[in-house]
Symmetry: C2
Subunit: 428 residues, 2 copies
Amino acid sequence: MADPSSCPLLTPASVRAAYEKIKPYIHKTPLITSTALDAIASSPDPSVYLSENPPPFHNVPTNGVEQGNDSQGSDDVPKFKLWFKCENFQKIGAFKARGAFHAVTRLIEELGVEEVRRRGVVTHSSGNHAQALSLAAHTFSIPAYIVMPTISTPSKIAGTRLYTNNVIFSGSTSQEREAVVADVIKEKNAILVPPYDHPDIILGQGTAGLEMETQFQEARYGQTGGRVQWKGERKEIGFDAVIAPLGGGGLLGGTATFFSNKYSTLVFGAEPSFQGGDDGRRGLLEGKRIEHVKTLTIADGLRTPVGVTNWSIISDKTKVEGLYAVTEEQIKMALRLVFERMKVVVEPSGCVGLAVVLFNKDFRDMVVRKQKETGKKEWDIGVVFSGGNTTMKALSQLFAEEKKTEAREREQGKIGLDGTRKVEDVAG
Amino acid sequence: MADPSSCPLLTPASVRAAYEKIKPYIHKTPLITSTALDAIASSPDPSVYLSENPPPFHNVPTNGVEQGNDSQGSDDVPKFKLWFKCENFQKIGAFKARGAFHAVTRLIEELGVEEVRRRGVVTHSSGNHAQALSLAAHTFSIPAYIVMPTISTPSKIAGTRLYTNNVIFSGSTSQEREAVVADVIKEKNAILVPPYDHPDIILGQGTAGLEMETQFQEARYGQTGGRVQWKGERKEIGFDAVIAPLGGGGLLGGTATFFSNKYSTLVFGAEPSFQGGDDGRRGLLEGKRIEHVKTLTIADGLRTPVGVTNWSIISDKTKVEGLYAVTEEQIKMALRLVFERMKVVVEPSGCVGLAVVLFNKDFRDMVVRKQKETGKKEWDIGVVFSGGNTTMKALSQLFAEEKKTEAREREQGKIGLDGTRKVEDVAG
């Protein structure tokens, strides 16, 4: 990988520069809206819309024009207009293509394509980064060596093999994987491209933020950039808030970097709370990065601890306003709403941002408070759907298991009436 | 309903007129493409991409430019560029909104809005037409009386109640439902809006065809309408073929009506074969409309026989080139590919067109033959995804059951190695 010391600074301008490099190779994924999800998110208890007999919306669209939410009443209910950035429609099905293409184009720029082709790139990953790096390398005829545990699911191995013949197996511990990577580096002089903790990766992922802001401005104001008159002040046009999933931190770190000079756009991160998967949130409470996480959350893309460089961004209150965590049940409820109401497939990891908006009480109370303070009636919030790589089989099992265990757990009081699972507090 | 004798003629011009009426009220749904699905459809055996360890594509995109399919070899493999019309993203989740808005705006035009408001509209439906009509009526403050069997699933009743308070229950036989409808008509003088067998409905559904053609022309040629030079001839720009699901026939009839003066665009219909659900195809073989169908196909929107008016269109060879049927397994395979590769939710009924393109041998052989005859290497084919109204629970059950019964049926020889279920011939 390019030496971090020679990398561009983590600034909005660097995200723009990254975008110019990767634009020809990635999809400009759509930014979509949903009247149904807006109504659900802006109702006092979104979980009622998961029942078999959901209540009607108060803001049914008529004559192609939405009615206001005002009739819905209480001041203590946050109001949202949701803008979903569909990175589930990105190449290889996840935002990871952005970082991988940026890392590879930067290597070519620094070392020349011949040297990169001679040496190749290497990483260890069993997930979306493996596919993303092999695609990016394949695009420039660069060999990609991907170290995967032998126990990886066949579909993920097959997905990676679509673009590279060099899948190398290892044991499943991180020591075993890293030993194999070290061998490849020694033998081939291959260049390591880590999955998230590197400036080039972070800047690449940040282009999702850049792209969604431009799309939002065009959709909402019919112009890119500029200012509007708002409550007697000239205000830069943009989102009121953006929320993205936090795993290793590449996506959230890059997004926060891009929005770091947009004072009117607050950036939030979303994590799974299961078995301590909310290491970012817990780290902020403890005042230091948590280095080890061991969780089997269904949000399998978010099981890793936050990386070192990413931590420096995420723990900077001027860049990231706050982190919020959701339970497994809340993630599944969000996934079902996206599936049934929007007809879109998002993987569990990709739904945690929406799950926070819909179900996290602290988050919703904070929004109500800020909406009162600023007199703003509704937030335009950008919600990143980070990926869609799941299978019918995996989702069927996820929701079939729920049916079996739900009744029992409800009896045992593990699931509240609002459908939220009560997990033990694993912080620490 | 407007007296058919006073209705516009079933012509492309009438579809255009219908579109002008309903345009303010419906979504312009996206026309999307998928490199992965193109590669799968253009491979010798698309079913191999359903396995846990699918082979790589031959036409992996590089540098943002697709490589040709030529390396894939055989002349006996059809080649497709697929253009998916996403009516699953339409209001109420299905194309039915088009016909319902057209029927209602036509009634207002003929009788005046006061009279329609005084009388109200009535239909019997437990499916998408019920929701579509209640939404259309609600939009113009017209009462909608929807007769539904008491045994309807709660979610469908709830969906209809989003827009009307007048859900009236009946027994589940068609006689019982029709008796209740007759009562409503007698009591309220309400106007019947049938689900598919009426010119206004047919013309409304046909606007899906109009819209997708315009979107295709813009995406493919950067212009709407006009001609291009092709093999020494001036050729009207447009799809080579379009395929839509066939149930009652409103969607296919309307689509075929719109394309009836586009000689270079062939229109095909797709049906489920399970328990004789392919009544259109069987009717063509017998030379007469089949009036009764009793099938429990998973494509539950396609269980009805073709309507009388629709039959006159569909049995006209100058309008519909042919009808093809697929098995339950083939529908499920298509659904899974759309879900896993495109990250889009389509209900089983909405997938039958794609299932034909991927898995129907007669259809694929016919395409190969026509591609050889015309020297055209690849077809631009418009595939209508007609709706997306399913639930996570329903799909989980559908695919969980499959897992249980699959192995057994494979042993018993009921499922071939290609995954197709061998059903008894129920024609007659």
